[in-house]
Amino acid sequence: MDLSLDIAIAMVAIVPFLAAAVAPFIHRVAGAATGWVLAIVPATIFVFLWGFVGPVSEGRFVSAGIDWVPSYGLTLSFFVDGLALMFALAISGIGTFILIYSGSYLKGHPHQGRFLAFITAFMGAMLGLVLSDNVLGLFLFWELTSVTSFLLIGFDHGREKARRAAIQAIVVTGAGGLALLLAALLLNRLFGVWDISAMIGSGLDLRGHGAYGLVLGLVLLAAFTKSAQFPFHFWLPNAMEAPTPVSAFLHSATMVQGGVYLLARTTPLLGGTDAWFVILVTFGGFTLIWGALAAIRQTDMKQMLAQTTLASLGLLVLLIGLGTEAAFLAMALYFIAHALYKAGLFLTVGIIDHGTGTKDITRLGGLRDPMTATFMAAILGGLGMIGLPPLVSYIAKEEMYLALASGDPLSLAILLVLVVGNGLLAAVGLAIMIRPFMGPLRETPHPPHEGDVASLSGPLVFGTIGVLGGIAAVWLGESLVAPAASSIANVAYESHIKLIVDPRSVLFWLSILTWAVAGLAYWRLDALRAGLQRLAAAPRWSFDQGFDAVMFGLVRGAAALTRLLHHGRLELYLVVFFIALAVALLAPLYLLDGLPALPPMPDLTFYEWGVMAVAVAGVVTVVVARRRLFAILALGIQGLAIALLFMLFGAPDLAFTQFMVEILSVVILTLVMTRLRLDHEDPRPLEDFARDGMIALLCGVGVTLLMLRVVSLPFEDRLSAFFATYSAEIAHGRNIVNVILVDFRGLDTLGEISVVMAAGIAILALIRSQKRPAPPEQPLVAPSGDASRSAP
């Protein structure tokens, strides 16, 4: 693979991000024409990718990559096969018109530049997602789509509903993203490679592996959250708070298809098992019917479309689950058809909303004259949703019925679900293309006006392609659909797709049946809607509220836990710390039977005994002293005696440090005491005295026993010998302690001085932040911690 192609393919995912970075500046210069200018980017990408259609349809694929983290062997690798190409063409093609449309839709909006930047960045993320071969790259772009989706849903951040919808979307899809990350790491552990193409080609059959269930669960969680499958469906309708181009692009044609893409991409690895079939078909089918019924219930046209998107996503998941050749072909066809008609319909609804001030289907009527071109666009989109010949969606529908034409009871049951689901979707399509336009002209918030070229171009072009694609079905099947289906199955399929309307075929009659369901549902639409609204209002609980309950529960749980552990009572913190210390010291000694034998009485000189006596006297004085100052001084005396001991036993550095630390401790403790304006005496109730004394005693005994245990072990002198030998030789220093501190273990010291400084800043903040004197506890901790480190 030559380098220029590697870079060119990587650029497909990267250039949109660069364009996003400059979009606000372009907007400053180009103003309302920014949409047209930015659309050059996806248009160019589309043309570039179009060049791969020929090679890919001949069964070849292109893989490319650029170094990512070479030291870990990570390559940001890309892979252009039928499936990736179909998605990438849809993203860049639809993205072109979305950008043009956005330029018009948000004309004059103060943050239009920001909006265009977000949506361009999203496009880059989505292209990266579908082209990624590396699972970590896939995860990275997957998360980027979630983040950009969050920004776009919350674009109108002044409204609380938009903020809530944005947070909900990122929480749900973000959770799925984490599942995907885990799945990616697991796959890497199992296969030893990062590239999906290499995993598929490795020959290892994951389906019989013990970890199959885990990987499957994680991938399904990721896909179902992203593609809003039941029970994670609730975020998608709320995401319609975003401006219309976002709904058309992210939340119907592309981003939500990410989950579908993931399922299709992992089919060769995970598909074909009973679990796969049952889960995908059940959840997909349920989401199909749920979404279709929910769509009928709505009066807001954008909400109707959002719910039908749920249904369509369910349908795609179901088709992947079926796992037959016809199902994969139908899935690819339906993806193309759906992307075209649904994006077109969303944009059309956006034009109606923009032109009349409302998108409530019950308040609109008679728009065919003032908005003729919009009517045309609506008809093209609506027919796509109904699936009339010669549109692509008709062929897609025939193909999915073909996938279930075997006649066994299970197939018949699924077939019934599809016919009803498709029929209900078609009824919604009928409603959207007829209701706002036919009948008498209704009063709207402002007089209807037609959309401009920029906004109409998208829906009209999508609709036209929907028709042309159906007419050129043979070509479409051979160059896009069959290669995509082949990538899903990892088997080379021949396309048998062509446009036939054959009254002798049972498939045709299934279509007629679908349309009959649609006609019936449309005829009784208002009654059906009223009934469904009553049904939806009946339970007091909804998934949306369930989400809130979970989130508030999290917040409350966190607050309760914080209050429990972070109660702010310093004395209790210390009690907990030291009890934990005592347990940590004593429990292992006792449980593991490590209690040391009593050592023999050491043979010491009289002055050594004298120094020890001073230390003991100091400690006793600390305990019995009534005046605080006296206790602090006694503590210092005890510390100085220890320093003397260090000196006597040949650790001058340690002694030196200990001297300084003791002196500073006394000074700082005294300062703290005067600053806190404590009483001179420290009277405590007996029970406190007993409790604290007990804990202190336990800690002291624990440390002593541990020390005795340690010194009873044979002395391991490899390190001492090493340092003694090499300190002068390779580190040019005779003071081993210092050489260790600044050279051998310099990195530790670097960490420690950073800690010292950070502690100092914290203490300063503590002293300064409060008007009333604050109790700085740390001064003793940082220096003496370091002093103990000086002894290797």
Partner: protein, 140 residues
């Protein structure tokens, strides 16, 4: 604490301690001493200065905020660690150069620069805390 004797000899004591702290730091590689101990001595000196002459005087004499001294020290130690990268050696590899000035061999090394950084961090942090405590809670 604020006796005449203490106020008079305080500054002299401080000067001697500061010089001694530098001496202890620089000889640390071969004899007992080093940046940590030196820093502690210097910090004690600053604390004594604060008690004898008042915090405002010390802050004026220091010119910079003591915590900034600590920050500079941490940065210096970090830079000393990175110096070896210029010679394509791993992070924190000791670099040594031996200069001869007037017949004396002077070792200049990155561990020494590192140790000076340690000195400054300890000096800056402890004196910052001590001065802040002396500031309005002390007896001056």
């Amino acid at each position: 604490m604020n006796t005449l004797i203490f106020r008079t000899i305080g500054p002299f004591l401080v000067a001697i301690m500061l010089v001694f702290s530098v001496f202890v730091t620089l000889r640390g590689h071969n004899e007992p001493g080093g940046g940590f101990i030196g820093g502690l001595i210097a910090a004690s000196a600053i604390a004594i200065y604060g008690m004898s002459s008042g915090v405002a005087t010390v802050r004026r004499a220091l010119r910079v905020n003591p915590i900034a001294i600590a920050g500079a020290g941490a940065a210096l130690s970090g830079i000393a660690g990175f110096a070896s990268l210029a010679f394509e050696a791993p992070f924190m590899t000791g670099l040594w150069a031996i200069a001869e000035i007037g017949g004396y061999e002077i070792n200049v090394s990155s561990p020494m620069v590192f140790d000076i950084g340690v000195y400054l961090v300890v000096l800056g942090t402890i004196s910052a805390v001590a001065l802040a405590l002396e500031d309005d809670g002390g007896e001056d």
